[in-house]
Protein backbone atom coordinates (compact mmCIF):
# COMPACT_ATOMS: atom_id res chain seq x y z
CA UNK A 1 0.00 0.00 0.00
CA UNK A 2 1.50 3.31 -1.07
CA UNK A 3 1.25 5.97 1.59
CA UNK A 4 -1.17 8.68 0.46
CA UNK A 5 0.36 12.06 -0.31
CA UNK A 6 -0.40 14.61 2.37
CA UNK A 7 -3.51 16.58 1.52
CA UNK A 8 -1.71 19.91 1.58
CA UNK A 9 0.91 18.75 -0.91
CA UNK A 10 -1.74 17.31 -3.18
CA UNK A 11 -3.65 20.58 -3.08
CA UNK A 12 -0.54 22.57 -3.97
CA UNK A 13 0.09 20.20 -6.84
CA UNK A 14 -3.43 20.61 -8.18
CA UNK A 15 -3.36 24.38 -7.82
CA UNK A 16 -0.02 24.67 -9.62
CA UNK A 17 -1.15 22.36 -12.43
CA UNK A 18 -4.19 24.57 -12.89
CA UNK A 19 -1.98 27.69 -12.89
CA UNK A 20 0.30 26.25 -15.59
CA UNK A 21 -2.68 25.17 -17.71
CA UNK A 22 -4.18 28.63 -17.19
CA UNK A 23 -0.94 30.25 -18.36
CA UNK A 24 -1.01 28.18 -21.54
CA UNK A 25 -4.60 29.16 -22.25
CA UNK A 26 -3.81 32.83 -21.60
CA UNK A 27 -0.99 32.55 -24.13
CA UNK A 28 -3.47 31.39 -26.76
CA UNK A 29 -6.11 34.05 -26.07
CA UNK A 30 -4.43 36.76 -28.22
CA UNK A 31 -4.08 34.32 -31.12
CA UNK A 32 -7.79 33.54 -31.03
CA UNK A 33 -8.74 37.21 -30.82
CA UNK A 34 -6.36 38.36 -33.58
CA UNK A 35 -7.60 35.67 -35.95
CA UNK A 36 -11.24 36.34 -35.03
CA UNK A 37 -10.97 40.07 -35.71
CA UNK A 38 -8.95 39.56 -38.87
CA UNK A 39 -11.79 37.51 -40.32
CA UNK A 40 -14.60 39.61 -38.88
CA UNK A 41 -13.23 42.95 -40.08
CA UNK A 42 -11.19 41.84 -43.05
CA UNK A 43 -13.47 39.48 -44.94
CA UNK A 44 -15.79 42.34 -45.92
CA UNK A 45 -12.98 44.09 -47.77
CA UNK A 46 -12.03 41.06 -49.84
CA UNK A 47 -13.47 41.10 -53.32
CA UNK A 48 -12.29 40.69 -56.91
CA UNK A 49 -11.62 44.44 -57.13
CA UNK A 50 -9.60 44.30 -53.94
CA UNK A 51 -6.98 42.18 -55.66
CA UNK A 52 -7.14 43.75 -59.12
CA UNK A 53 -7.12 47.51 -58.55
CA UNK A 54 -4.53 49.87 -57.12
CA UNK A 55 -5.18 52.20 -54.20
CA UNK A 56 -6.68 55.39 -55.62
CA UNK A 57 -5.00 57.59 -53.03
CA UNK A 58 -7.97 59.97 -53.18
CA UNK A 59 -9.27 61.40 -49.93
CA UNK A 60 -12.92 60.75 -50.79
CA UNK A 61 -14.70 58.05 -52.73
CA UNK A 62 -13.77 54.41 -53.08
CA UNK A 63 -10.24 53.74 -51.78
CA UNK A 64 -9.38 51.09 -54.35
CA UNK A 65 -7.68 47.72 -53.80
CA UNK A 66 -4.20 46.61 -52.94
CA UNK A 67 -2.90 45.07 -56.18
CA UNK A 68 0.28 47.18 -56.14
CA UNK A 69 0.97 46.23 -52.51
CA UNK A 70 0.66 42.50 -53.22
CA UNK A 71 2.87 42.73 -56.32
CA UNK A 72 5.38 44.83 -54.37
CA UNK A 73 5.54 42.45 -51.44
CA UNK A 74 6.11 39.46 -53.72
CA UNK A 75 8.81 41.25 -55.73
CA UNK A 76 10.66 42.76 -52.76
CA UNK A 77 10.54 39.63 -50.63
CA UNK A 78 11.42 37.45 -53.65
CA UNK A 79 14.61 39.40 -54.37
CA UNK A 80 15.45 39.46 -50.65
CA UNK A 81 15.15 35.67 -50.57
CA UNK A 82 17.38 35.34 -53.66
CA UNK A 83 20.06 37.35 -51.84
CA UNK A 84 19.73 36.00 -48.32
CA UNK A 85 19.29 32.26 -48.92
CA UNK A 86 22.49 31.52 -50.91
CA UNK A 87 24.61 33.81 -48.73
CA UNK A 88 23.11 32.47 -45.52
CA UNK A 89 23.60 28.84 -46.52
CA UNK A 90 27.14 29.67 -47.70
CA UNK A 91 28.10 31.05 -44.31
CA UNK A 92 26.55 28.02 -42.61
CA UNK A 93 28.50 25.71 -44.96
CA UNK A 94 31.73 27.42 -43.96
CA UNK A 95 30.90 27.07 -40.28
CA UNK A 96 30.03 23.37 -40.56
CA UNK A 97 32.46 22.13 -43.20
CA UNK A 98 35.58 24.21 -42.68
CA UNK A 99 35.45 25.98 -39.36
CA UNK A 100 33.94 23.68 -36.77
CA UNK A 101 35.83 25.01 -33.77
CA UNK A 102 38.43 27.59 -34.78
CA UNK A 103 38.44 31.09 -33.31
CA UNK A 104 37.43 32.80 -36.53
CA UNK A 105 34.30 30.70 -36.95
CA UNK A 106 33.33 31.26 -33.33
CA UNK A 107 33.61 35.00 -33.91
CA UNK A 108 31.48 34.67 -37.05
CA UNK A 109 28.94 32.61 -35.12
CA UNK A 110 28.82 35.29 -32.44
CA UNK A 111 28.22 38.06 -34.96
CA UNK A 112 25.53 36.10 -36.75
CA UNK A 113 23.83 35.95 -33.34
CA UNK A 114 24.37 39.68 -32.97
CA UNK A 115 22.65 40.22 -36.33
CA UNK A 116 19.62 38.24 -35.19
CA UNK A 117 19.26 40.67 -32.32
CA UNK A 118 19.53 43.88 -34.34
CA UNK A 119 16.12 45.59 -34.50
CA UNK A 120 14.65 45.61 -37.99
CA UNK A 121 14.33 49.39 -38.02
CA UNK A 122 18.07 49.74 -37.51
CA UNK A 123 18.65 47.67 -40.66
CA UNK A 124 16.30 50.06 -42.43
CA UNK A 125 18.28 53.05 -41.15
CA UNK A 126 21.53 51.47 -42.27
CA UNK A 127 20.32 50.89 -45.81
CA UNK A 128 18.86 54.39 -45.85
CA UNK A 129 22.27 55.84 -44.95
CA UNK A 130 24.28 53.63 -47.27
CA UNK A 131 22.04 53.38 -50.33
CA UNK A 132 19.36 56.08 -50.21
CA UNK A 133 21.25 59.11 -48.86
CA UNK A 134 24.12 58.43 -51.23
CA UNK A 135 21.65 58.35 -54.10
CA UNK A 136 22.94 55.14 -55.67
CA UNK A 137 20.49 54.20 -58.40
CA UNK A 138 18.07 57.01 -57.59
CA UNK A 139 16.26 57.75 -54.41
CA UNK A 140 14.00 55.12 -52.86
CA UNK A 141 13.76 51.80 -54.69
CA UNK A 142 12.30 48.34 -54.28
CA UNK A 143 15.69 46.63 -54.42
CA UNK A 144 16.95 48.70 -51.52
CA UNK A 145 14.05 47.40 -49.48
CA UNK A 146 15.02 43.90 -50.59
CA UNK A 147 18.56 44.36 -49.28
CA UNK A 148 17.29 45.62 -45.94
CA UNK A 149 15.01 42.56 -45.68
CA UNK A 150 17.86 40.28 -46.80
CA UNK A 151 20.05 41.55 -43.94
CA UNK A 152 17.22 40.65 -41.60
CA UNK A 153 16.71 37.18 -43.10
CA UNK A 154 20.38 36.24 -43.48
CA UNK A 155 21.11 35.33 -39.83
CA UNK A 156 17.87 33.37 -39.60
CA UNK A 157 18.81 31.33 -42.67
CA UNK A 158 22.37 30.79 -41.41
CA UNK A 159 21.37 29.62 -37.96
CA UNK A 160 18.78 27.13 -39.17
CA UNK A 161 21.08 25.92 -41.98
CA UNK A 162 23.95 25.39 -39.55
CA UNK A 163 21.77 23.12 -37.43
CA UNK A 164 20.54 21.10 -40.42
CA UNK A 165 23.97 20.75 -42.04
CA UNK A 166 25.39 19.64 -38.72
CA UNK A 167 22.87 16.79 -38.69
CA UNK A 168 24.25 15.25 -41.89
CA UNK A 169 26.05 12.14 -40.59
CA UNK A 170 29.82 12.39 -40.72
CA UNK A 171 30.00 8.81 -41.98
CA UNK A 172 28.47 10.01 -45.27
CA UNK A 173 31.20 12.62 -45.72
CA UNK A 174 33.92 10.18 -44.74
CA UNK A 175 32.59 7.51 -47.08
CA UNK A 176 32.65 9.93 -50.02
CA UNK A 177 36.13 11.20 -49.16
CA UNK A 178 37.39 7.64 -48.80
CA UNK A 179 36.11 6.89 -52.29
CA UNK A 180 38.31 9.71 -53.53
CA UNK A 181 35.76 12.48 -53.99
CA UNK A 182 37.19 15.97 -53.65
CA UNK A 183 35.82 18.18 -50.92
CA UNK A 184 33.68 20.37 -53.21
CA UNK A 185 32.01 17.30 -54.66
CA UNK A 186 31.29 16.06 -51.16
CA UNK A 187 29.66 19.40 -50.35
CA UNK A 188 27.57 19.67 -53.52
CA UNK A 189 26.72 16.01 -54.12
CA UNK A 190 26.45 14.62 -50.59
CA UNK A 191 26.01 17.27 -47.90
CA UNK A 192 23.66 19.71 -49.61
CA UNK A 193 21.28 17.12 -51.14
CA UNK A 194 21.06 15.25 -47.85
CA UNK A 195 20.21 18.39 -45.95
CA UNK A 196 17.95 19.85 -48.65
CA UNK A 197 14.51 19.48 -47.02
CA UNK A 198 15.77 21.06 -43.82
CA UNK A 199 17.43 23.89 -45.74
CA UNK A 200 14.19 24.59 -47.61
CA UNK A 201 12.21 24.65 -44.36
CA UNK A 202 14.62 27.06 -42.67
CA UNK A 203 14.71 29.34 -45.70
CA UNK A 204 10.95 29.45 -46.05
CA UNK A 205 10.52 30.32 -42.38
CA UNK A 206 13.02 33.14 -42.84
CA UNK A 207 11.08 34.38 -45.87
CA UNK A 208 7.85 34.24 -43.89
CA UNK A 209 9.45 36.36 -41.22
CA UNK A 210 10.73 38.89 -43.73
CA UNK A 211 7.40 39.18 -45.53
CA UNK A 212 5.68 40.71 -42.52
CA UNK A 213 8.32 43.32 -41.75
CA UNK A 214 7.33 46.93 -42.09
CA UNK A 215 10.09 48.94 -40.47
CA UNK A 216 12.95 48.17 -42.91
CA UNK A 217 10.76 49.16 -45.88
CA UNK A 218 9.59 52.50 -44.48
CA UNK A 219 12.51 54.52 -45.78
CA UNK A 220 14.02 52.18 -48.34
CA UNK A 221 11.28 51.03 -50.73
CA UNK A 222 8.91 53.79 -49.60
CA UNK A 223 5.43 53.64 -51.10
CA UNK A 224 3.52 54.53 -54.23
CA UNK A 225 -0.02 53.73 -55.24
CA UNK A 226 0.56 52.46 -58.77
CA UNK A 227 1.59 48.90 -59.54
CA UNK A 228 5.15 48.51 -60.74
CA UNK A 229 7.15 45.42 -61.61
CA UNK A 230 10.38 47.41 -61.70
CA UNK A 231 12.49 46.93 -58.58
CA UNK A 232 14.43 50.08 -59.49
CA UNK A 233 11.43 52.27 -58.67
CA UNK A 234 9.62 53.06 -55.46
CA UNK A 235 7.36 50.19 -54.54
CA UNK A 236 4.28 49.63 -52.46
CA UNK A 237 4.03 46.65 -50.11
CA UNK A 238 1.34 45.11 -47.93
CA UNK A 239 2.88 45.98 -44.53
CA UNK A 240 3.44 49.61 -45.56
CA UNK A 241 -0.09 49.80 -47.02
CA UNK A 242 -1.50 48.61 -43.69
CA UNK A 243 0.72 50.96 -41.70
CA UNK A 244 -0.45 53.95 -43.74
CA UNK A 245 -4.12 52.92 -43.83
CA UNK A 246 -4.37 52.41 -40.06
CA UNK A 247 -3.73 56.08 -39.47
CA UNK A 248 -6.47 57.31 -41.82
CA UNK A 249 -9.81 58.47 -40.46
CA UNK A 250 -12.05 57.07 -43.25
CA UNK A 251 -13.84 53.85 -42.38
CA UNK A 252 -13.43 52.32 -45.85
CA UNK A 253 -9.66 52.85 -45.75
CA UNK A 254 -9.47 51.21 -42.33
CA UNK A 255 -11.47 48.34 -43.77
CA UNK A 256 -8.90 48.04 -46.52
CA UNK A 257 -6.21 47.82 -43.81
CA UNK A 258 -8.03 44.85 -42.26
CA UNK A 259 -8.40 43.21 -45.67
CA UNK A 260 -4.71 43.70 -46.39
CA UNK A 261 -3.81 42.31 -42.97
CA UNK A 262 -5.92 39.22 -43.63
CA UNK A 263 -4.21 38.78 -47.02
CA UNK A 264 -0.72 39.20 -45.53
CA UNK A 265 -1.33 36.80 -42.65
CA UNK A 266 -2.80 34.26 -45.06
CA UNK A 267 0.30 34.49 -47.29
CA UNK A 268 2.63 34.06 -44.30
CA UNK A 269 0.62 31.16 -42.88
CA UNK A 270 0.62 29.33 -46.20
CA UNK A 271 4.42 29.71 -46.43
CA UNK A 272 4.86 28.53 -42.84
CA UNK A 273 2.55 25.58 -43.39
CA UNK A 274 4.36 24.43 -46.53
CA UNK A 275 7.67 24.77 -44.70
CA UNK A 276 6.42 22.62 -41.84
CA UNK A 277 5.07 19.98 -44.22
CA UNK A 278 8.44 19.70 -45.95
CA UNK A 279 10.08 19.44 -42.55
CA UNK A 280 7.77 16.63 -41.53
CA UNK A 281 8.57 14.61 -44.66
CA UNK A 282 12.32 14.95 -44.20
CA UNK A 283 14.35 12.58 -42.10
CA UNK A 284 15.62 15.29 -39.83
CA UNK A 285 13.40 16.76 -37.19
Amino acid sequence: MIAPVAARRRRTDQVMRAVLLGGTLVALVPLVFVVYYLFKQGIGAISWDFFTTDPTGRFLGPPGGVKSAIVGTIMIVGLAALIAIPLGIGVALYLVEYGKQNVFSNVVRYFVDVMTGVPSIVFGLFIYIVLVLTGIGGNFAGWKGSIALALLMLPVVTRSAEVVLGLVPNSLREAALALGAPRWKVVFRIVLPTALPGLITGSMLAVARGAGETAPLLFTAFAVNATTWNLGEQMNSLPIQIFNDVRQPQANIVERAWGSALTLVAMILILTLIARLIQRRSRFA
Binding site: G23, V108, V246
Partner: protein
Amino acid sequence: MATGTVASGDRIASRSPLSRLPDRLLRWVLTGLAAAILLLIAFFFIRLATESEPVFSKYGVIDFVFSDEWVPSQELYGALPLLVGTIITSVIALAIGVPVAVASALYITELAPQRLKQPLTILVELLAAVPSVVYGLWGVFVLIPKLRPAEQWFSDTFAFLPFVGGDVAGPNSFIAGLILAIMILPIVSAISREVMATVPVEQKEAALALGATRWEMIRMAVLPYSRAGISGAAMLGLGRAIGETIAATLVIGNAAVIGDSIFSQGYTLAAVIANEFGEAASDPTHRAALIAAGLVLFVLTLIVNALARYFVLRSERATARRVPKGMAG
Protein backbone atom coordinates in the same frame (compact mmCIF):
# COMPACT_ATOMS: atom_id res chain seq x y z
CA MET B 1 44.41 13.95 -49.40
CA ALA B 2 48.11 14.65 -49.63
CA THR B 3 50.40 12.41 -51.60
CA GLY B 4 51.98 9.72 -49.50
CA THR B 5 52.96 6.12 -49.35
CA VAL B 6 51.10 3.20 -47.91
CA ALA B 7 52.75 0.50 -45.89
CA SER B 8 53.48 -1.67 -48.90
CA GLY B 9 55.39 1.13 -50.50
CA ASP B 10 52.94 1.75 -53.37
CA ARG B 11 52.39 5.39 -54.19
CA ILE B 12 48.88 6.73 -53.83
CA ALA B 13 47.67 8.50 -56.95
CA SER B 14 47.88 12.23 -56.32
CA ARG B 15 45.52 14.88 -57.66
CA SER B 16 46.82 17.32 -60.21
CA PRO B 17 46.95 20.92 -58.92
CA LEU B 18 44.34 21.88 -61.51
CA SER B 19 41.76 19.41 -60.23
CA ARG B 20 42.24 20.74 -56.73
CA LEU B 21 41.36 24.25 -57.83
CA PRO B 22 37.60 23.98 -57.22
CA ASP B 23 38.36 22.77 -53.72
CA ARG B 24 40.39 25.82 -52.84
CA LEU B 25 37.94 28.10 -54.61
CA LEU B 26 35.03 26.79 -52.56
CA ARG B 27 37.01 27.14 -49.38
CA TRP B 28 38.02 30.73 -50.09
CA VAL B 29 34.56 31.78 -51.26
CA LEU B 30 32.92 30.40 -48.16
CA THR B 31 35.57 31.90 -45.87
CA GLY B 32 35.13 35.21 -47.66
CA LEU B 33 31.37 35.08 -47.07
CA ALA B 34 31.90 34.47 -43.38
CA ALA B 35 34.41 37.31 -43.19
CA ALA B 36 31.99 39.58 -45.04
CA ILE B 37 29.55 39.24 -42.12
CA LEU B 38 32.15 40.70 -39.76
CA LEU B 39 33.01 43.52 -42.16
CA LEU B 40 29.34 44.26 -42.65
CA ILE B 41 28.71 44.68 -38.93
CA ALA B 42 31.80 46.85 -38.49
CA PHE B 43 30.72 49.00 -41.46
CA PHE B 44 27.23 49.15 -40.04
CA PHE B 45 28.43 50.50 -36.71
CA ILE B 46 30.81 53.02 -38.27
CA ARG B 47 28.18 54.39 -40.65
CA LEU B 48 25.60 54.83 -37.91
CA ALA B 49 28.21 56.56 -35.76
CA THR B 50 29.46 58.93 -38.47
CA GLU B 51 25.94 59.85 -39.59
CA SER B 52 24.83 60.70 -36.07
CA GLU B 53 28.07 62.54 -35.27
CA PRO B 54 26.63 66.05 -35.96
CA VAL B 55 24.12 65.58 -33.16
CA PHE B 56 26.61 64.13 -30.70
CA SER B 57 29.13 66.89 -31.36
CA LYS B 58 26.48 69.59 -31.03
CA TYR B 59 24.74 68.30 -27.92
CA GLY B 60 27.31 65.91 -26.45
CA VAL B 61 26.67 62.21 -25.92
CA ILE B 62 25.59 62.60 -22.29
CA ASP B 63 23.29 65.52 -23.01
CA PHE B 64 21.73 63.78 -25.97
CA VAL B 65 20.93 60.68 -23.96
CA PHE B 66 19.98 62.27 -20.64
CA SER B 67 18.27 65.57 -21.32
CA ASP B 68 14.52 65.27 -21.29
CA GLU B 69 13.18 67.51 -24.02
CA TRP B 70 12.60 66.15 -27.50
CA VAL B 71 11.09 69.00 -29.52
CA PRO B 72 12.34 68.83 -33.10
CA SER B 73 10.63 72.12 -34.04
CA GLN B 74 12.84 73.93 -31.51
CA GLU B 75 15.91 71.85 -32.31
CA LEU B 76 15.81 70.26 -28.87
CA TYR B 77 16.99 66.67 -28.99
CA GLY B 78 17.08 64.96 -25.61
CA ALA B 79 16.47 61.23 -25.84
CA LEU B 80 15.62 60.59 -22.20
CA PRO B 81 11.81 60.41 -22.71
CA LEU B 82 12.39 57.92 -25.52
CA LEU B 83 14.77 55.87 -23.43
CA VAL B 84 12.38 55.88 -20.47
CA GLY B 85 9.48 54.93 -22.75
CA THR B 86 11.50 52.06 -24.19
CA ILE B 87 12.39 50.80 -20.72
CA ILE B 88 8.84 51.11 -19.34
CA THR B 89 7.21 49.27 -22.23
CA SER B 90 9.90 46.56 -22.19
CA VAL B 91 9.56 46.03 -18.44
CA ILE B 92 5.77 45.72 -18.79
CA ALA B 93 6.28 43.29 -21.66
CA LEU B 94 8.62 41.13 -19.58
CA ALA B 95 6.44 41.28 -16.47
CA ILE B 96 3.43 40.00 -18.42
CA GLY B 97 5.07 37.92 -21.14
CA VAL B 98 7.71 35.91 -19.28
CA PRO B 99 5.50 34.28 -16.59
CA VAL B 100 2.93 33.30 -19.21
CA ALA B 101 5.61 31.99 -21.56
CA VAL B 102 7.32 29.95 -18.83
CA ALA B 103 4.00 28.57 -17.61
CA SER B 104 3.08 27.47 -21.11
CA ALA B 105 6.53 25.95 -21.64
CA LEU B 106 6.28 24.00 -18.37
CA TYR B 107 2.78 22.83 -19.20
CA ILE B 108 3.74 21.71 -22.70
CA THR B 109 6.94 19.89 -21.68
CA GLU B 110 5.90 18.40 -18.33
CA LEU B 111 2.14 18.17 -17.97
CA ALA B 112 0.33 18.13 -21.31
CA PRO B 113 -0.95 14.78 -22.63
CA GLN B 114 1.37 13.46 -25.33
CA ARG B 115 -1.03 14.04 -28.21
CA LEU B 116 -1.60 17.67 -27.21
CA LYS B 117 2.10 18.64 -27.10
CA GLN B 118 2.61 19.11 -30.82
CA PRO B 119 -0.60 21.10 -31.49
CA LEU B 120 0.01 23.37 -28.48
CA THR B 121 3.59 24.03 -29.62
CA ILE B 122 2.39 24.96 -33.10
CA LEU B 123 -0.33 27.24 -31.75
CA VAL B 124 2.10 29.15 -29.53
CA GLU B 125 4.51 29.48 -32.45
CA LEU B 126 1.75 30.83 -34.68
CA LEU B 127 1.79 33.95 -32.49
CA ALA B 128 5.17 34.68 -34.07
CA ALA B 129 3.74 34.41 -37.57
CA VAL B 130 1.52 37.46 -37.11
CA PRO B 131 3.38 40.53 -38.40
CA SER B 132 4.09 43.47 -36.14
CA VAL B 133 1.92 45.83 -38.18
CA VAL B 134 -1.06 43.48 -37.82
CA TYR B 135 -0.65 43.48 -34.03
CA GLY B 136 -0.56 47.27 -34.29
CA LEU B 137 -3.76 47.35 -36.32
CA TRP B 138 -5.45 45.02 -33.84
CA GLY B 139 -4.17 47.10 -30.93
CA VAL B 140 -5.52 50.35 -32.36
CA PHE B 141 -9.00 49.13 -33.23
CA VAL B 142 -9.63 46.36 -30.69
CA LEU B 143 -7.33 46.47 -27.67
CA ILE B 144 -7.35 50.23 -27.03
CA PRO B 145 -11.14 50.73 -27.06
CA LYS B 146 -12.00 47.42 -25.35
CA LEU B 147 -9.47 47.68 -22.54
CA ARG B 148 -9.98 51.35 -21.71
CA PRO B 149 -12.77 50.87 -19.11
CA ALA B 150 -10.76 48.14 -17.38
CA GLU B 151 -7.65 50.30 -17.35
CA GLN B 152 -9.58 53.26 -15.91
CA TRP B 153 -11.04 51.03 -13.20
CA PHE B 154 -7.59 49.69 -12.35
CA SER B 155 -6.12 53.17 -12.36
CA ASP B 156 -8.82 54.49 -9.98
CA THR B 157 -8.81 51.49 -7.65
CA PHE B 158 -5.07 51.07 -7.31
CA ALA B 159 -4.14 54.75 -7.44
CA PHE B 160 -1.99 54.26 -4.32
CA LEU B 161 0.51 52.17 -6.31
CA PRO B 162 3.45 53.96 -7.89
CA PHE B 163 3.03 54.83 -11.59
CA VAL B 164 -0.71 54.13 -11.44
CA GLY B 165 -3.57 56.60 -11.19
CA GLY B 166 -5.04 59.53 -13.06
CA ASP B 167 -6.81 59.52 -16.37
CA VAL B 168 -6.15 56.78 -18.86
CA ALA B 169 -5.05 58.00 -22.28
CA GLY B 170 -6.38 56.08 -25.31
CA PRO B 171 -3.05 54.95 -26.70
CA ASN B 172 -0.64 54.46 -23.79
CA SER B 173 2.49 52.74 -22.54
CA PHE B 174 0.61 49.88 -20.90
CA ILE B 175 -1.12 48.90 -24.15
CA ALA B 176 2.23 49.02 -25.94
CA GLY B 177 3.79 46.83 -23.23
CA LEU B 178 0.89 44.38 -23.48
CA ILE B 179 1.27 44.03 -27.25
CA LEU B 180 5.03 43.61 -26.86
CA ALA B 181 4.35 40.89 -24.28
CA ILE B 182 2.28 39.00 -26.85
CA MET B 183 5.02 39.42 -29.43
CA ILE B 184 7.87 38.14 -27.24
CA LEU B 185 5.84 35.24 -25.88
CA PRO B 186 6.61 32.72 -28.65
CA ILE B 187 10.40 33.16 -28.53
CA VAL B 188 10.61 33.10 -24.74
CA SER B 189 8.38 30.02 -24.67
CA ALA B 190 10.36 28.26 -27.43
CA ILE B 191 13.75 28.76 -25.76
CA SER B 192 12.38 27.82 -22.35
CA ARG B 193 11.01 24.59 -23.85
CA GLU B 194 14.39 23.82 -25.39
CA VAL B 195 16.15 24.39 -22.08
CA MET B 196 13.61 22.30 -20.16
CA ALA B 197 14.03 19.48 -22.64
CA THR B 198 17.69 19.20 -21.62
CA VAL B 199 16.86 18.42 -17.99
CA PRO B 200 18.02 14.82 -17.52
CA VAL B 201 15.18 12.34 -17.30
CA GLU B 202 16.98 10.61 -14.38
CA GLN B 203 16.59 13.70 -12.23
CA LYS B 204 12.89 13.92 -12.91
CA GLU B 205 12.31 10.22 -12.42
CA ALA B 206 14.33 10.25 -9.21
CA ALA B 207 12.15 13.03 -7.81
CA LEU B 208 8.96 11.18 -8.81
CA ALA B 209 10.29 7.90 -7.43
CA LEU B 210 10.91 9.56 -4.06
CA GLY B 211 7.22 10.39 -3.97
CA ALA B 212 7.26 13.96 -5.22
CA THR B 213 4.11 15.26 -6.85
CA ARG B 214 4.38 16.60 -10.40
CA TRP B 215 4.69 20.18 -9.19
CA GLU B 216 7.32 19.24 -6.62
CA MET B 217 9.23 17.48 -9.38
CA ILE B 218 9.05 20.64 -11.51
CA ARG B 219 10.16 22.79 -8.59
CA MET B 220 13.00 20.52 -7.49
CA ALA B 221 14.29 19.07 -10.76
CA VAL B 222 13.18 21.14 -13.75
CA LEU B 223 13.31 24.74 -12.51
CA PRO B 224 16.74 24.72 -10.82
CA TYR B 225 18.20 23.10 -13.91
CA SER B 226 16.73 25.53 -16.39
CA ARG B 227 16.91 28.75 -14.39
CA ALA B 228 19.87 30.22 -16.31
CA GLY B 229 18.35 29.23 -19.64
CA ILE B 230 15.04 30.84 -18.76
CA SER B 231 16.88 34.05 -17.79
CA GLY B 232 18.58 33.94 -21.17
CA ALA B 233 15.22 33.46 -22.90
CA ALA B 234 13.82 36.44 -21.00
CA MET B 235 16.79 38.58 -22.04
CA LEU B 236 16.29 37.61 -25.69
CA GLY B 237 12.65 38.60 -25.29
CA LEU B 238 13.81 41.90 -23.81
CA GLY B 239 16.01 42.48 -26.85
CA ARG B 240 13.00 41.93 -29.11
CA ALA B 241 10.79 44.20 -27.02
CA ILE B 242 13.34 47.04 -27.08
CA GLY B 243 13.67 46.94 -30.85
CA GLU B 244 10.05 46.38 -31.78
CA THR B 245 8.92 49.34 -33.81
CA ILE B 246 5.72 49.32 -35.76
CA ALA B 247 3.28 47.89 -33.22
CA ALA B 248 4.65 50.23 -30.55
CA THR B 249 4.47 53.33 -32.70
CA LEU B 250 0.82 52.62 -33.53
CA VAL B 251 -0.40 52.18 -29.95
CA ILE B 252 1.83 54.24 -27.65
CA GLY B 253 0.57 57.70 -28.59
CA ASN B 254 3.94 59.09 -29.73
CA ALA B 255 4.26 61.87 -27.17
CA ALA B 256 7.84 62.61 -26.14
CA VAL B 257 7.10 63.17 -22.46
CA ILE B 258 7.83 61.16 -19.35
CA GLY B 259 4.29 60.41 -18.18
CA ASP B 260 3.07 60.17 -14.59
CA SER B 261 1.67 56.67 -14.94
CA ILE B 262 1.89 53.60 -17.12
CA PHE B 263 -1.45 54.70 -18.59
CA SER B 264 -0.04 57.92 -20.05
CA GLN B 265 1.12 58.37 -23.60
CA GLY B 266 4.77 57.78 -24.35
CA TYR B 267 7.32 57.24 -27.08
CA THR B 268 10.09 54.72 -27.68
CA LEU B 269 13.46 54.96 -29.43
CA ALA B 270 12.28 52.71 -32.25
CA ALA B 271 8.91 54.43 -32.60
CA VAL B 272 10.43 57.89 -32.94
CA ILE B 273 12.50 56.74 -35.91
CA ALA B 274 9.55 55.22 -37.74
CA ASN B 275 7.24 58.09 -36.97
CA GLU B 276 9.42 61.14 -37.62
CA PHE B 277 11.57 59.97 -40.48
CA GLY B 278 9.30 61.37 -43.16
CA GLU B 279 9.47 64.91 -41.82
CA ALA B 280 13.16 64.62 -40.92
CA ALA B 281 14.33 63.85 -44.45
CA SER B 282 14.73 67.55 -45.23
CA ASP B 283 16.29 68.57 -41.88
CA PRO B 284 19.85 67.23 -41.47
CA THR B 285 19.99 67.79 -37.70
CA HIS B 286 16.68 66.06 -37.09
CA ARG B 287 17.77 63.21 -39.32
CA ALA B 288 21.08 62.89 -37.48
CA ALA B 289 19.18 62.88 -34.18
CA LEU B 290 17.00 59.99 -35.38
CA ILE B 291 20.04 58.07 -36.56
CA ALA B 292 21.60 58.73 -33.16
CA ALA B 293 18.44 57.29 -31.57
CA GLY B 294 18.99 54.26 -33.80
CA LEU B 295 22.58 53.98 -32.60
CA VAL B 296 21.51 54.11 -28.94
CA LEU B 297 18.93 51.43 -29.73
CA PHE B 298 21.56 49.31 -31.48
CA VAL B 299 23.98 49.53 -28.54
CA LEU B 300 21.18 48.77 -26.07
CA THR B 301 20.16 45.61 -27.94
CA LEU B 302 23.81 44.56 -28.27
CA ILE B 303 24.27 44.68 -24.50
CA VAL B 304 21.01 42.86 -23.80
CA ASN B 305 21.72 40.15 -26.37
CA ALA B 306 25.27 39.63 -25.08
CA LEU B 307 23.81 39.09 -21.61
CA ALA B 308 21.22 36.69 -23.02
CA ARG B 309 23.91 34.70 -24.78
CA TYR B 310 25.94 34.53 -21.59
CA PHE B 311 22.99 33.10 -19.64
CA VAL B 312 22.03 30.55 -22.28
CA LEU B 313 25.65 29.41 -22.71
CA ARG B 314 26.09 29.09 -18.96
CA SER B 315 22.99 26.95 -18.78
CA GLU B 316 24.24 24.73 -21.60
CA ARG B 317 27.65 24.36 -19.96
CA ALA B 318 26.08 23.54 -16.64
CA THR B 319 24.06 20.78 -18.28
CA ALA B 320 27.12 19.43 -20.06
CA ARG B 321 29.10 19.37 -16.83
CA ARG B 322 26.52 17.64 -14.71
CA VAL B 323 25.46 15.04 -17.22
CA PRO B 324 28.00 12.46 -18.35
CA LYS B 325 27.97 11.98 -22.11
CA GLY B 326 25.55 9.34 -23.26
CA MET B 327 23.32 9.70 -20.25
CA ALA B 328 21.64 12.89 -21.35
CA GLY B 329 18.63 10.93 -22.63
